[in-house]
Amino acid sequence: MNDFYTILTASLVAINCALMGGFLMMRKMVMIGDAISHAVLPGIFMAYYISGSTASLPILAGAAFSGILATLMIEWFTKKARLQSDAAIGVSYTLLFAIGIILISKWGQNADLDQQCVLYGEIEQISFWLQPIAFGIVLPKQTVILLAVAVLLIGAVIWGYKGLFITTFDPDFALSTGVAVTFWHYFLMSGVSLTTVVSFESVGAILVIAFLSGPPAIAYLLTEDFKKMLILACLVGILCSIGGYYAAKWLDVSVAGAISTFIGLVFMVVFIGTSLVKRKVDVIST
């Protein structure tokens, strides 16, 4: 059953990240996810310091707060200081992440709160947190939260598909027809913050970034239909979770690391495969 819980948890993170990552990739903003997943650190520490516990709710609230602070900082640096967006992302999140590290290294020794946990997560130990849900079903606590977020995100993407689609493809045109482009931007950013914040606790920041960027990029190589791309990205994420998990078992290494590596390898294989097919088509057509 341990295998099942770990794979289920990783797959839910994969679905959440693939949905958000698909839109972020087409907006050339994937690194925002990277930024948020690191920038949550000071918020987590402050929440721990104030509430005095590592319970999920205050920690999530603290993480969400600094996640939103990071998006606002990035927005402010690009709009007001007219900084390049990648530079704005780099400046904001390294600053917040570094503050978090300083806070933890100074006052966090006694807590079970360390940089390791934030970066690599503790997906191997997910089944320590098992609790009964309903109808005799037992699930780890984080898995339940991830499941709720997945349902919420799938609903939000279906509900807001046209708004997200038009503002991603052509924001100027969208604005000219009266679409509230800013609303859709923050709608997506809220989804991204929520995803990274609930995911990092179970799988760590590195796997969140790998899931945000890898599966959508792989799906992008395989299809030219955006809806299919989103669904395919979810499937690729799930397959990589399964493959990566068993690879980790087999090699006796970190699960998060193995899944991330697995995603990278799948990308390479698909990239080489699609370029070979393209070359063949080119040869035939000429």
Binding site: M26, G160, K162, D170, F173, L175, S176, V179, T223, F226
Partner: protein, 259 residues
């Protein structure tokens, strides 16, 4: 009685940082004409269209469309952004892009009706792209991309069209197609405002010209403002090009008024 202007621009200034893109622009545009907006690179042509469409917020001044704020008449105005501003590798089909022209009327949360689908089909037919409806946009040529953008604007069913460089980088067939389309639209009572680059074709394409170089140089009927003096004022240092063109025009015996 004099026709009320369809677009009014009042003391419009747009600054990017400290650098002005447009400086104190003031003019009116007449209805039911083909209007060209011309000027050298970086003269603020695109910024002008974007300000009228509310995509760029002016630093000072204001614009009116149909004697009202744009928000009240948005459904009558179509905007065709510059083709190069978009990522054409986006995974989407021609049909999906043209369907965006119907989002405004139908709202973002309702399904498109059969009426919408007929309008999309019709719009694609008008630009000879119906056979490409299911094509991925990444497989289109520059001219075909431009046609898709025009189809999207036609699907909006507005009366006023603002187009940013629709002739840039398109093949001759597409250019001719766009010209005949513009003529049909003008006959149907539409107003067309077009950012344009090519001085050679300006006289034959446009009824009215706006000449820009950060400041407004001239705005008026083509035969009144397409003069050596005004073109020199607009294009400044690039005199060689200008004199070459006026030379060419004189050789073809185009009527140019010398002041």
């Amino acid at each position: 009685m004099k026709q009320p202007p369809i677009i009014e621009v009042h003391n419009l200034t747009v600054l990017y940082g400290r650098k002005p893109a447009l400086w104190n622009i003031d003019f009116d545009l007449p209805e039911k004409q083909v209007i060209g907006i011309m000027g050298p690179n970086g003269s603020g042509k695109s910024t002008l269209l974007k300000s009228i469409m509310g995509v760029v917020t002016p630093t000072s001044g204001f614009t009116k469309v149909y004697d009202q704020s744009l928000n009240n008449v948005r459904d009558r105005v179509s905007y065709v952004p510059q083709r190069q501003d978009i990522d054409w590798d986006f995974p989407a089909s021609v049909w999906e892009i043209v369907a965006m022209g119907r989002y405004q009327k139908r709202g973002l949360f309702k399904k498109l009706t059969t009426e919408d689908q007929d309008i999309i089909t019709d719009s694609l037919e008008k630009v000879n792209m119906l056979g490409y409806a299911k094509r991925q946009i990444s497989q289109l040529s520059g001219g075909q991309q431009q046609r898709v953008f025009l189809a999207r604007a036609i699907a909006q069913q507005g009366d006023l069209f603002l187009m940013d460089e629709p002739f840039a980088g398109v093949d001759i067939a597409t250019e001719e197609m766009i010209i005949s389309l513009l003529k049909d639209m003008k006959e149907a009572g539409k107003t067309l405002v077009i950012v344009h680059h090519d001085l050679h074709t300006a006289q034959s394409y446009f009824d009215h010209l706006v000449l820009l170089n950060t400041r407004l140089i001239a705005s008026g009927p083509t035969e009144e403002v397409f003069t050596d003096q005004i073109l020199t004022d607009t294009y400044g240092g690039k005199l060689t090009t200008i004199s070459k063109i006026s030379q060419e025009l004189e050789n073809k015996e185009f009527p140019i008024r010398h002041k």
